[in-house]
Symmetry: C2
Subunit: 492 residues, 2 copies
């Protein structure tokens, strides 16, 4: 086949890279840490974006677009946020190139075109957006302001991985403004629910909803809610965050509103985002050693039909019958492709579409036609079954639902089997080393202990689950009293 | 109303800014030359993007995403392209900020985080894309490659105008690769046709299809096709361009393919783009002194319904009847809003939706209900008419089509009345000064004359129309022989 994939057992990390590259999701680029999202990967992202966008609009949000650049003086206004991102900022310092007098045909930065104030390429847009909100918000009548932006952002990461951690990535960032604290907290929680619904119902990735410890919060947030997923190697992955920002940005940018009693107060804020990182989560949650496995609801291609024939006569017969099947599947909103190209043999096509994670493959040969059947193969289980051609469309639609549910269940079962309680420091480390997954353990609630555990075990507190059960115990490291278990894991 | 607009007669340029700002399309930002696209403007852009995207996909293109940054050494590889854009490039030179030791709480660029090679923020993506295509294209089987990208780009413009000319703008850029010259030229022409169809059928803006003179070509192109529109002040606006790039980028990036005979040759290329500038064209082509006029096919809101009532009882009656109308309009795919907010009086709402260019306004009062009628107002002509409530949805749908056609016809008639022949240099200048529009005049075909005419009259050759009529004559400036008239205009 010429497209060998390293097995998960052999090298999980290489397996992941192989899948992303060989299935055509993405490619490396000439720019350090930046990737090219290839057409197949971008089609997947478009499906994700469109579903999320519908959910944002259904919850009352509208889209807008704010500048790519943030002047340094605005960027540094909210100090914690600035401090948190300063180390990762790409900075524009000049606005012109000129011919290099010493190297004919080459260009150089024109030293005379130095900006008076440097521009930060946005790593996140709170600063530029709250500086704008200042002019949009005067009264309670201007609130709530429920705005989302689809954009590219840049964070200069030292170690990058395709989709999971790239210097530039695509994302959406919601930025809302509210008259009361409670309303802002409700908004942050609502968007966490939206993310969880999207992850589970569309990506088929089960997630745990929780909130971050102060150490792990977004820089500038009062509270960070998150959804945490589990990958097949037992490592956790933060799949989305929603922040209650308090009045921090309103104070930094002096955004006040007059309430119904004409009293001035600072505005309350949230922000929330998910990114192309979700594609990495999707790949790692479901795929196998033969390639991608994609959830039908997001797969760019849901069904592929491959004809098996000798000679033009057989081909014409199959074409005739497939035409109707394609039409009825398309009419039902199914993304289907009839691959009758004669460049490649059926076996090559089978492997190629397995690599690309197309959920359902239909193979139809001349003898199948005589028997009025087709061979249907599921990508997730590799099961093959003969289906009658009459009413095939209905059965395929059912099968896509079945697959969506099956890959969710499989991931859920794996996740459930990988939340383990640890009662001692030794057990804690053994679980992390040998079993992986989430370890539910007592923690004394201090940042110092959290930091120490991270140093010693490379595990972080992924979250404190929403509505976490309260239970008295002793901290796994210090033995100090604890009121609840939190979820630790090694993570992406 | 508190939202006075400068009239076109008084100050056309201020009229344009007033409309953009007061209708809520966009706002200024804290970043020099960059704007904020507000939710109403972004909703308009989403509609434009979605329609264009459908047309691109229908012609076989797929979307992908390439990095924001172009390393300087790649940027300069195609020399003409590099030379053309060098003066407008924002350049990233550093990747980190740090605390400023002399100013507590402030940040400074970390001098130790200087990039070895500067990164240009893409002003256009030929360089980064063709450097990638090099690894994707080996054989004729890999061709054609038909890829489009929706992205932000940055061109450091000295004088900026909302939408028309901004340092950062949103656009799409198609980049295709072909095995033959003819196929590439056909592609460039096909995309010009797509743009023209979009401009005329959706934006209701008539355009002239043509090609640019060598002086006006895209830097690095062998031929630039364009669509040119005419604004209400008689100035032309380039609304989209499609370039035949020859083998220039293939040669600069060494992109070769082996043909069926296994012979190596450089790949042929096109690129084509339209941007948020189209929103500026839309505003200037149709709007009047009361605000925006939007074509129904792109308007974020096509129909607004305003109730006119005294007391809750009347309100309840109207609500009951409107509910069904809204439902049936929505079911027909119409974007409709029932504005029953009690913050503002009907007169205020009327002015507000006129400002925002909502094509159809329905006003329903208690007496209307008794008579089973509603008052329908067209935004474009300001005509009001009483409609029977039975079958209202069908009539509204027809009316939206009528309006779409009417504003196109109006713009077309204006354009037709503003293509004028000039037979002498005096007449040429008088036409430009007093009448505006396109001036069809003979030109001797040299770049020198073109440059001289531009200097003297501030008019440029907008295009040589496709299938231009051949006609012998004398150049308007030099009197030298000419074989055809070309279209001159002052332009945005």
């Amino acid at each position: 086949m010429g497209k060998e994939i390293t097995s998960r057992e052999q090298d999980y990390s290489q397996w992941y890279n192989d899948i992303v590259l060989k299935s055509g999701l993405a490619d490396y680029s000439a720019v350090r840490g930046c990737m090219v999202i290839k057409p197949y990967g971008y089609a997947l992202w478009e499906n994700m974006r469109d579903e999320l966008d519908k959910m944002f609009k259904a919850t009352g949000h509208v889209n807008a677009y704010f500048p790519l650049f943030v002047p340094k003086s605005l960027f540094e206004a909210e100090e914690k946020n600035a401090e948190g991102f300063a180390k990762e900022c790409a900075v524009v310092t000049h606005y012109r190139l000129k011919s290099d007098p010493e190297k004919p045909g080459k260009l150089m930065v024109d030293p005379e075109a130095k900006l008076e104030e440097e521009l930060v390429v946005r790593p996140t847009s709170e600063a530029i957006i709250w500086n704008t909100y200042k002019t949009w918000i005067q009264s309670y009548r201007d609130l709530p302001l429920l705005i989302n932006q689809w954009a590219n952002v840049v964070r200069w990461e030292m170690r990058t991985r395709l989709f999971l951690r790239t210097a530039e990535f695509l994302w959406q960032e919601g930025h809302t403004a509210h008259a009361t604290k409670d309303e802002a907290i409700d908004e942050a929680k609502q968007m966490l629910d939206v993310y969880a619904t999207f992850a589970e119902d569309f990506m088929a990735v089960p997630v745990i909803k929780g909130y971050k410890t102060p150490n792990e919060r977004f820089a500038g947030a009062e509270d960070t809610y998150c959804i945490e997923a589990l990958m097949q190697d037992g490592k956790a992955l933060q799949a989305g965050t929603s922040h209650f920002l308090g009045q921090n940005f309103a104070k930094a940018f002096d955004v006040k509103f007059s309430d119904k009693q004409n009293k001035l107060d600072y505005v309350w804020a949230t922000s929330w985002g998910v990114s192309t990182r979700l594609i990495g989560a999707l790949v790692m949650a479901h795929s196998d050693d033969d390639g991608l496995i994609l959830p039908p609801r997001l797969a760019p291609l849901q069904v592929v039909i491959v004809p098996i024939y000798k000679g033009e006569e057989q081909k014409a017969l199959i074409d005739g019958r497939v035409k109707g099947i394609v039409q009825s599947l398309k009419a039902a909103g199914i993304r289907v492709k009839y691959d009758d190209s004669d460049n490649n043999r059926p076996g090559w096509k089978f492997a190629e579409y397995e690599m690309k994670g197309v959920p359902v493959r239909i193979a139809i040969g001349a003898r199948d036609l005589e028997n009025n059947v087709a061979e249907i193969a599921r990508r997730d289980t590799k099961e093959k079954q003969s289906y009658n051609l009459d009413g095939l469309d209905t059965k395929i639609i059912e099968l896509l639902d079945t697959i969506q549910q099956a890959i969710y269940n499989k991931a859920k079962n794996y996740r459930e089997a990988h939340i383990t309680r640890a009662e001692s420091w030794a057990e804690f480390n053994e679980l992390l080393d040998k079993k992986g997954g989430f370890v539910a353990a007592h923690w004394d609630g201090t940042g110092e202990t959290e930091e120490k555990i991270k140093e010693l075990s490379k595990a972080t507190i992924r979250c404190i689950p929403i509505n976490n059960q309260q239970e008295e115990g002793a901290c796994i490291l210090t033995g100090n009293p604890s009121t609840q278990r939190v979820l630790f894991a090694r993570a992406y």
